[in-house]
């Protein structure tokens, strides 16, 4: 959620500096309370638990230990974390390449078309992502719709094993996260001043140059927000990767989930969670630094 707030701030761009009176402070109190209760307190709990021990039934024993962290820095867990980051990176890159043209097209359409297109992007959210993931399973499975189509059209003679592969995992992630890339970029494109583009053309710039020197820098806040909104949740995602990947090559999200359930080791799961949080904070810091250098 903190990520969403940061992304929203990025997308909104720099705001005019005005000193606020007492009134606005009252207005944000519910929001601050919400943040404290559902973001800060749980994060602190996670931090505390990550330094604790546990008993045979998995209950947390409040005695201080570093063991969870020394165990977390083992190569086998870092490898799993690396694969998760790689999946998230691929997902983000594909979402950006697919999402940018779509967002641009929507943002530059007429008002009526734009509303319709944005609604089309949002419609999948009306159904739970789990149900949509199960739909993909029935499309991609060996006796599924896609293979039936390919074989009826004589494109392939034997069914192709799409399901339970890295391909299926990336497909599931891209499908699920694409709207999170399109929407913030669309917001930036919508605010784009058309006269600046015209001016660039008038001054003799070619389309490629107009894009790289005018459009891209002006939509950059949307891109940064989109990357954050896709990359961060994609690292921690466990349901889609498990369903589409068949559970082989577990992601860090699956490992953490297991610590809190089957492995009876909440402190270790919390330690892995804190590490993941550190990566998120690092990527937030990186994107804000990136933005600051852009402004200078």
């Amino acid at each position: 959620m903190a990520v969403a707030a940061a992304a929203a701030a990025l997308a909104a761009g720099p705001s005019p500096q005005r000193r606020a009176g007492l009134g606005p402070w009252f207005a944000v109190t519910p929001m601050l309370g919400w943040l404290a209760l559902f973001v800060i307190v749980p994060t602190l709990m996670l931090l505390v638990i990550s330094f604790c021990e546990r008993d045979a039934l998995g209950r947390i024993v409040y005695s201080f230990t570093f063991e969870n962290y020394t165990r977390a820095f083992d190569w086998k867990w870092l490898k799993i974390l690396g694969i998760s980051v790689w999946y998230a990176f691929l997902t983000t890159a594909i979402c950006l390449v697919l999402g940018y043209p779509v967002a641009y097209f929507i943002g530059r359409s007429s008002d009526r078309v734009r509303g319709l297109l944005i609604m089309l992007v949002m419609i999948p959210f009306w159904t739970s992502f789990l149900i949509r993931t199960y739909a993909w399973i029935s499309i991609l499975s060996q006796d599924g719709l896609l293979n039936a189509l390919l074989m009826t059209l004589k494109i392939t003679s034997a069914p192709i094993g799409f399901m339970y592969t890295p391909f299926a995992v990336i497909l599931g992630l891209v499908y699920n996260f694409l709207p999170f890339m399109i929407l913030p970029i669309y917001t930036s494109v919508e605010k784009l001043d058309g006269s600046l583009i015209e001016a660039a053309y008038d001054l003799g710039a070619r389309p490629a140059r107009v894009f790289s020197k005018v459009v891209l820098p002006l939509t950059q806040p949307g891109i940064a927000a989109g990357i954050l909104l896709v990359f961060v949740p994609a690292i921690a995602m466990f349901a889609i990767t498990n369903l589409m990947g068949g559970g082989a090559n577990p992601t860090i999200g699956e490992v953490i989930q297991n610590q809190f359930t089957r492995a009876r080791n909440q402190p270790f799961g919390a330690a892995l969670g804190v590490l993941l949080l550190a990566i998120f904070i690092f990527s937030l810091w990186l994107s804000s630094k990136f933005r600051r250098s852009e402004q200078e």
């Binding site: 045979a56 694969i83 499975s141 498990n242 068949g246 577990p250």
Partner: protein, 345 residues
């Protein structure tokens, strides 16, 4: 002004409803059960007969149930722990002793389920359903014969295998194959079976505990090690899905109803236990979830098709010869680490 008034009235109503909700809270029986294990029809019938409302929450592993119960989140009245969890919970004094006078239908249980080693004489728990872990294969693609765990993990089947996404189970198959008792989960024994498991897990396509039958019936896998209820559903769907009880020894799980110490509704919970032990109610459970029903009177009501399903009621198999899991304690974390690492190879 009117707007404000309306808001006030709405707020007052909401407050009143909240209070009313609090007062009525005790009327509800809070059932904390495995997902996909308690038919809605059974719950509706119970409410209809007794007027007791039932609220249901689900979990997907014993450990998840324990974690939530011990965290003190919901005051659950009835839980559905498996045998090794019952054992651990009795040891930790987390269960209430049952008043057997209030559960006369206990007599319907088969004698071998009345006195199980994890809870002698059903002092704390009553079996719900039992099941086995065995091999299922698509006889149209796999020629067979398949008799053991290691017959599953051959090079011919590589990439066409589904197994339960359950570290404890996987380790027990390795132990059984190496001739080690399945509850001897020591560090040395884990080291002994690691090369074997590494070879096995490298050949697995899908790890799924929730619905391993999906990968089989969709054609993505040809052979697997799954719960007997899943095997029974596959066999009922198409007899090409053959069921095998592995020769190395069969592991049986027994899921039970039990009342946690924190429950304030012991009477209602016992009424529910007695209700589901009625033959016609227990049959409703078997109709939907074709595991091994420990209720002898209910089994008498089942159809020949149900009783002849080799995964539900393996022909000629003596359930007392099956092995039960005992609680692993802290070793659970080691088992999970081993399997997770081998999956990520």
């Amino acid at each position: 002004m009117t707007k404000h008034k309306t808001k006030l009235i709405v707020a007052a109503c909401a407050g009143a409803m909240l209070l009313a909700g609090c007062e009525k809270k005790d009327e509800t029986l809070k059932l904390f059960s495995w997902s996909e294990y308690v038919p809605q029809a059974v719950i509706d019938k119970f409410t209809e007969e007794t007027g007791i409302k039932v609220s249901v929450e689900n979990y997907s592993s014993n450990e998840e149930m324990l974690a939530k119960l011990l965290a003190g989140g919901g005051a659950y009245d009835l839980i559905q722990p498996s045998e090794y969890t019952v054992q651990a919970m009795i040891k930790e004094d987390l269960l209430q002793e049952l008043d057997q006078a209030k559960i006369p239908n206990l007599k319907n249980l088969a004698p071998e389920f009345r006195n199980m080693p994890f809870d002698p004489n059903n002092k704390f728990s009553v079996p719900w359903l039992a099941g086995f872990v065995g091999v299922v294969y698509n006889a149209e693609v796999v020629p067979g014969p398949i008799v053991s765990y290691k017959d599953v993990f051959t090079d011919e089947h590589a990439g066409r295998i589904v197994i339960l996404d359950d570290a404890r189970e996987t380790v027990s198959w390795g132990l059984a194959t190496a001739g080690i008792p399945i509850n001897n989960v020591t560090d040395e024994n884990l080291a002994t079976i690691t090369p074997l498991l590494k070879d096995w897990l490298g050949k697995v396509k899908v790890f799924d505990s929730d619905s391993p039958k999906t990968a089989m019936s969709n054609g993505d896998t040809d052979i697997g090690i799954v719960w007997s209820g899943e095997g029974a559903l596959l066999f009922a769907e198409n007899p090409k899905f053959q069921w095998v009880m592995p020769v190395e020894g069969v592991h049986m799980f027994v899921d039970n109803l039990a009342i946690p110490k924190t429950s304030q509704n012991k009477d209602k919970a016992e009424a529910f236990i007695n209700f589901i032990l009625r033959p016609e109610i227990s049959k409703m459970i078997s109709d939907e979830f074709p595991y091994y029903n420990p209720n002898l009177e209910a089994r008498a009501l089942l159809s020949p098709e149900q009783l002849n399903n080799p995964a539900s009621y393996p022909p000629g198999f003596d359930v007392t010869s099956a092995q039960l899991f005992t609680d692993l304690g802290e070793q659970a974390s080691k088992v999970d680490e081993l399997i997770t690492t081998l999956k990520a190879q």
